[in-house]
Amino acid sequence: MSAAFELTGVSKRFGAAPALDELSLSIPEGSVVGLIGRNGCGKTTLLRLVVGLYLPTEGHCEALGCPVGKLGPDELSRIGVVHQESRFLVWMKVRQHLRYIASFYKDWDQDREQRLLKELELDQEARVGTLSPGNLQKLAIILAVCHHPKLLLLDEPMAAMDPIGREKLFEFLLDLLQEDGNTTVISSHALRDVERIVDRVVCLDGGRLLEDTSLDDLQERFARWIVTSKNGGLPDHFSEGYVLEQKGDPFRKQLLVADGASKLEAFQNKHHLEVTLQPLNLERIFPLLIGKKN
């Protein structure tokens, strides 16, 4: 499977400050990627690099098979972006803005546009400058998806939306993925939401790649073990290296474990206890990922 975008040894510095540091990453076509990381870890910089707004200070970056510095109309017509901060033409009405942006794309889907306007309850006659931050994000999403992009990059697309709007957007995104089968990268701190649609997770930390794997793999690697003793009390402290966190009482404890699946049987035999496995969600895995690295 070819890559939707690929970074090879990419560094991006703003003055002396590094935003990305020797990052190598390849995202296969058709995958739905959750881009996660702490504030300032380089998520936005990465997305801006992919669409050629930034150029790498070092290394090589390609999107849709083309070096990002040379992205032409063909490639850019197949990319949709929702920026963290929307910079729209505030003097236009929503309808005017849609018509203006639509004219840049040959394959603009008016039906999809109208459907989204209706579903997301966005007033076409409202002036863009008067829209609330949440409504601006809705507009940004409509503008990014109506030309059926092959690569959709969403940078904090729902940060300002209310729960109803967010739910509607997720329903739409799921439909979109089924309809278009595009590559989607969603950068967000709302990990519970992200988890619902992504099949792959890329985690950045300090501009470096901390993790690039499937969500299934992460959920297999990180788990919660509920341990109960077979013959009385439990040890005060489990000293195994793969036990990252532990809490509970002498009879029942919760352990957060990394890469422990293969060691489960030995663990049970050693301590004479019963273990019940519980999967972790991404919101719980994320601090473990960061903590494990540190």
Binding site: R48, V51, G52, L53, Y54, L55, G69, K70, L71, G72, P73, D74, L76, S77, I79, V81, H83, R87, L89, V90, W91, M92, Q96, R99, Y100, A102, S103, F104, Y105, K106, R127, G129, T130, L131, S132, P133, L136
Partner: protein
């Protein structure tokens, strides 16, 4: 607010650029005018007018940036302290000028008080973001400086009292809490301030929203693939489909204003024609050779400032940070094509204004239609054609390499400084050509100059292309 805290606000990237430039500007002004036949007091008069107005603009911009934020509304006594600081700076400036007059002229000059008045007046105007009026006031003050100063000298006590009252009135109006509340509680601004980091940007947007004119619809279903299509899209994106009409109206307005400022003194008094401007020009550039055609000097200066304002205020870029389906090479072509169109417009307006006003002035002054100014005019036009790309390169650099709020926030000052810089380039360039080309046939001169203009354009094209190939687009 302590004076120190206010000056701490001035220490920011934009000022770090502007303030040293101002200092250099005034030092140069003094050094260059040493040999000119101008009395020190007269030179001080002109410096007082210009320096007070420019400093007032900077102070007003700083006040504007601080006060239109929600946090400042709740700071106890903030407005009062802010107004006291501005008035304090005005008084300090008046004292400095009073000292300077005493040193140079041997006696206290009541005109010094106007340094404070001008500063406060300009600060209040700049606080309201009245950019065009500010620009007009600056130009008018420059050209009418002799007239104004003459009036003040005739009735120093009365005019000083007037200045004090005026400063008090402007301060009251400028720092009135009620007017600030209206702005702060505007629902649009409330939303916008929360959307933008910069209150300046929010307010600019608010002003745009208040405009009554509405753009026509964008009727094209597909932009197309030609550069000219993209240029049209950029024009629409910047101002709407009415942009062409609007730019024509704005050009005509500035054309008329220029005419009024230049020609009106000629009606009043032959002696006073362009006196302030010619005087300013002498002080600024102190030409070492006699002026060959004095009439085109003030006109060229105005044209240069007007061309700078036109280039700096005109939009010529695709929106930053947007992912248009346009390659970097196409972006550079769009920018270049827009610049080329602007150059043509400037040259056309330049030519029209010179021919019309220059001719009118010649007729009014001598009662004949003597066209002696024509060679100077042609050299001026070609100088502008050669030097405009320099200005456009600066604009490109400011647009992309600086922070979003920086250069736009200080557009008035940039236009003025850029105008002075550009005028300083245009006139000597035009003036020295006859010497450089002495003994060379006219057709060869013309060919060489046209080749130079084309080379300048070509170089700018190369710069733009290289820029868009290698720079971040945010």
């Amino acid at each position: 607010m302590a004076l120190y805290a206010f000056f701490r606000l001035l220490v920011r990237p934009a000022f770090a650029f502007i303030l040293p430039l101002l200092v250099v500007f005034f030092v140069l002004l003094l050094v260059l005018s040493l040999d000119a036949d101008i009395s020190p007091v007269h030179r001080l008069d002109l410096s007082m007018v210009v320096f007070s107005l420019v400093l007032g603009t900077l102070v007003g911009q700083t006040v504007h940036d601080v006060r239109y934020r929600f946090f400042s509304w709740t700071l106890p006594g903030f407005q009062r302290k802010l107004s006291a600081t501005v008035i304090g700076i005005g008084l300090l400036l008046a004292l400095i000028w009073a000292g300077s007059y005493t040193l140079l002229g041997g006696e206290m000059n009541p005109i010094a008080g106007f340094a404070g008045f001008f500063l406060i007046f300009m600060a209040c105007a700049a606080m309201q973001r009245a950019i065009l009026p500010v620009l007009i006031i600056l130009l008018a003050a420059l050209i009418w400086s002799d007239f104004i100063l003459g009036l003040i000298r005739a009735q120093p006590v009365g005019w000083t009292a007037f200045a004090l009252l005026g400063a008090a009135a402007f301060s009251y109006a400028g720092f009135n809490r009620g007017s600030l509340r209206k702005i702060l509680l505007s629902p649009h601004l409330f939303l916008l301030v929360n959307m933008f980091n910069s209150a300046e940007e929010a307010r600019a947007t608010e002003e745009k929203l208040k405009r009554s004119s509405h753009p026509r619809e964008w009727l094209r279903s597909f932009v197309g693939t030609e550069v000219r299509d993209w240029v049209r899209a950029v024009e629409y994106g910047s101002h709407g489909a009415m942009s062409r009409l609007r730019s024509k109206i704005s050009s005509c307005a500035s054309f008329a204003l220029m005419g009024f400022l230049i020609v009106q003194p000629a009606f009043m008094n032959d002696r006073s024609f362009g006196l302030g401007l010619e005087h300013a020009f002498h002080v600024l550039f102190s030409p070492p050779v006699p002026l060959e055609a004095p009439i085109y000097v003030p006109v060229s200066l105005f044209q240069a400032i007007w061309a700078t304002a036109f280039v700096f205020r005109a939009e010529g870029f695709l929106q930053r940070g947007w992912v248009y389906p346009v390659s970097r090479r196409q972006r550079s072509q769009v920018v270049y094509r827009m610049s080329l169109r602007q150059n043509l417009r400037v040259v056309v307006m330049f030519s029209l204004s010179f021919l019309l006003y220059g001719g009118l002035i010649v007729f009014l002054r001598s009662g004949t239609d003597d066209l002696d100014f024509m060679p100077g005019f042609f050299r001026g036009v070609i100088a502008v054609s050669i030097l405009l790309p320099v200005l456009q390169w600066i604009r490109l650099w400011l647009h992309h390499a600086s922070s979003e709020s920086g250069p736009r926030q200080w557009s008035v000052v940039l236009v003025l400084l850029g105008g002075a810089f550009f005028a300083g380039l245009v006139w000597p360039t035009a003036h020295f050509w006859p010497r450089i080309f002495a003994g060379v046939d006219l057709p060869i001169q013309a060919s060489l100059l046209v080749a130079l203009a084309l080379a300048s354009q070509g170089l700018y094209y190369k710069v733009v292309t290289a820029y868009y190939q290698g720079e971040d687009l945010i």
